[in-house]
């Protein structure tokens, strides 16, 4: 398998080989957001929680990037830091997050001041959290909340804002007559869809969704996902979609980043992660979902439980639960290196001492 990202393959074939430098420039310019070396600690006690550790991650224009991992692996910490909504005791201890808007200068979100950030919110960056109640003000009618945002952020007149609010709600399947409703008068699914519409009110370039559908059931979830897809096709924004449901991401995401113990351990095209995962944790996670169809193969969980992040295990943090581990795993931390059309942080494909097999790695044998 080639180590070149899929979308550059034909360029490479049809033209003269690009130098590495050009290639990486080309690669980066496709990214709306480039995160490098991001670390976030919670300083709540003498020994901090290392919730996000040295994360490198790119979000490409117009793509849906899934972020998946078990509870407590740092997904929310990562996206709140990226959107600069981190709250004490969380502290960003290192890294950069270069945001490249379609118009205007690139900004390092991690170094931006409050003024710069508030200029970016709504019109560039929007966030949807799991609990829709937090995003909607319970004492204001739904319509008023849309109108406020549209007037303040986009300078629309009251009348224009009202019209636009009706359109936006229509996009997520809420009839315009519900503009006069208070949030508690809507069903949970409707509230969640209203929050999504509100996040999109100013046509942002990057929409971060932290478990937007975890609290709703599958039928409603499907409905919401379909609406998000339609809106994305219309507005062309990028989505970072956080969930613990890998089987869902394989269906809806273009690329997936798998987190374990605060690190990104694998990132790559969704299909590849499903069909040919490079990291034993990805494989184990995939194998933990009962498939909806096909023969019923025996399923195994992942032995043990996720580590605490005050003292993450040395070496590869997954090694205590990994069936493929070998000599260096408990001492040397694997780097995120190219694997197929993506990257993986595992010694197995790269380490000189790795047992050589043709088999895909698997933590569940």
């Amino acid at each position: 398998m080639s180590h070149v990202p899929e979308r550059y393959e034909d360029e490479l074939l049809s033209e003269e080989p690009l130098s590495d430098e050009l290639l990486s420039d080309e690669l980066l310019s496709g990214e709306l957001l480039s995160v490098e070396g991001l670390s976030v600690d919670y300083f709540d006690r003498a020994e901090p929680v290392h919730a996000v550790r040295d994360v490198r991650l790119g979000v490409r224009r117009g793509e849906t990037l899934g972020v998946v991992g078990e509870s407590g692996c740092g997904k929310s910490t990562l996206v709140t830091a990226l959107t600069r909504l981190e709250r004490p005791p969380a502290v960003i201890t290192a890294g950069s997050a270069l945001y490249r808007p379609r118009e205007g200068e690139p900004v390092d979100l991690l170094r931006a001041d409050e003024r710069q950030l508030s200029a970016l919110r709504w019109r560039h960056l929007a966030i949807v959290f799991q609990s829709a109640m937090n995003a909607l003000n319970p004492v204001h009618r739904l319509g008023a909340q849309f109108v406020d945002v549209l007037r303040a952020q986009r300078g629309l007149s009251k009348k224009e804002a009202q019209e636009r609010a009706g359109e936006l709600l229509g996009l997520v399947g809420i009839p315009a007559d519900r503009l006069r409703a208070y949030p508690h008068e809507l069903s949970g699914g409707m509230r969640q869809r209203a929050t999504i519409a509100l996040a999109l009110a100013c046509e942002p370039e990057l929409v971060v969704m932290d478990e937007p559908t975890t609290a709703v059931d599958v039928v409603m979830q499907r409905q919401i996902l379909k609406q998000i897809g339609k809106l994305q096709a219309e507005f062309g924004f990028s989505v970072v979609f956080v969930t613990h449901d890998l089987s869902l991401l394989i269906e809806i995401a273009d690329r997936i980043a798998v987190m374990y113990a605060g690190r990104v351990v694998e990132v790559g095209p969704a299909r590849q992660l499903y069909e040919n995962p490079a990291h034993p944790y990805t494989a184990a996670l995939r194998n933990a979902f009962p498939p909806l169809r096909g023969p019923r193969r025996p399923l195994t969980g992942i032995p043990g439980s996720p580590p605490g992040l005050r003292h993450p295990p040395a070496g590869c943090a997954f090694h205590p639960r990994c069936a493929s581990r070998f000599a260096p795993c408990d001492t040397e931390e694997p780097e995120l290196l190219p694997a197929g059309a993506g990257e993986a942080a595992c010694h197995l494909p790269t380490h000189a001492d790795a047992p050589r097999t043709e088999e895909a790695p698997d933590a569940t044998d």
Binding site: E70, S71, G173, S187, G188, G189, M190, V216, D217, V218, V219, M220, Q221, R222, Q223, K226, Q227, H244, D245, L246, S247, L248, I250, E251, Y274, E275, A283, A284, L285, R286, N287, A288, F289, P290, P291, L292, R293, G294, P295, R296, R297, P298, L299, T300, G301, I302, S305, P306, E359, A360, D362, T364, D365
Partner: protein
Amino acid sequence: MPPTDASKPVLEARKVSKRFTLHGPGQYGKEVHALEPVTLALHPGRITALVGESGSGKSTLARLLALAHPPTSGEIRLDGERIAAARTARGKRAYYRQVQMVFQDPFSSLSPVHRVRHILGRPLQLHGGAQDKAARERQTVELLERVNLTPADQFIDKFPHELSGGQRQRVAIARALAARPRVLLGDEPVSMLDVSIRLDILNLLGSLRDDGLAILYITHDIAGARYFADEIKVLYAGQLVESGPGEELVRDPRHPYTRLLVESAPDPDRIAPPPDPDGDDAPPGEPPSLVDPPGGCRFHPRCPLAVPQCATTFPPRTHLSAKRWVHCWSHDAGVPQIPQADPVPHTDCPVPHTDRPVPHKDKDNSP
């Protein structure tokens, strides 16, 4: 433990219904029609999954079976004997020796102030007949081993907060098993757990089933139900709408709501986007109000196959085979097959898995 005859149900709900009377301003005297008359039988050595969307009445049915609410109509039968609402503490205790429940949230269902030893020792003393300390200790260790919390001495002195979510849920299951029940009612026992841990618990339920326990498994996850349950029953807005062996029901759902449920489930092997029964723009609607439920089939306002009588009359049960039935006026209307890719071959699967034979004839489905 009384002898188990796999062909006879241990626990039955016969035409049980439940209405909740609302209080509160503006609602006085209104009723929630949470469950319409439902008949369901649990057999030894069988997992029956109950699936349905939020608010469809799954927990209500489980609570009726657990005698937590009296049914508005209908009856609960244990070994064919009618349970006269066991009001006395003694009557309840006798019932709970046979029927135990496991809840969704292992964080709140275990007392935070007691150690595992006490959490398990207490029901052993109450139900298990373990009177002296040594016997209790021995049985506690056995329970921990049964739910794979081994070595037991590493867990017996722990408080719930010192355990992971999966370990806590195992303790909750061990506590339910302390009474040596014949029926386990699991109300979303794995929904709050990480996938990696879920499987362990589901495999544990599978082995308890193999030991002869009758299990009700309530879940939102139809893929998991197909995997672990012998049969699936689908509840919509308080009405049971379809029932059958899991595999068949998922492959060929015959009620439009079951179809919507299957099509909505995450499925990495799906290639076409899921068909939208209401056309491209209309979302498939909201669940109905249960205070003023739609007449006839409660799914009719959302149903792409609705015919006029759907709005007036609840469809009768149509038996599709010995083990399958459906309540739908349009059950044989065009059933589009969902396109699917070949499932990805998984490399870890040396053991071919055959469907576990169900060791008895299915007789419970007639109303």
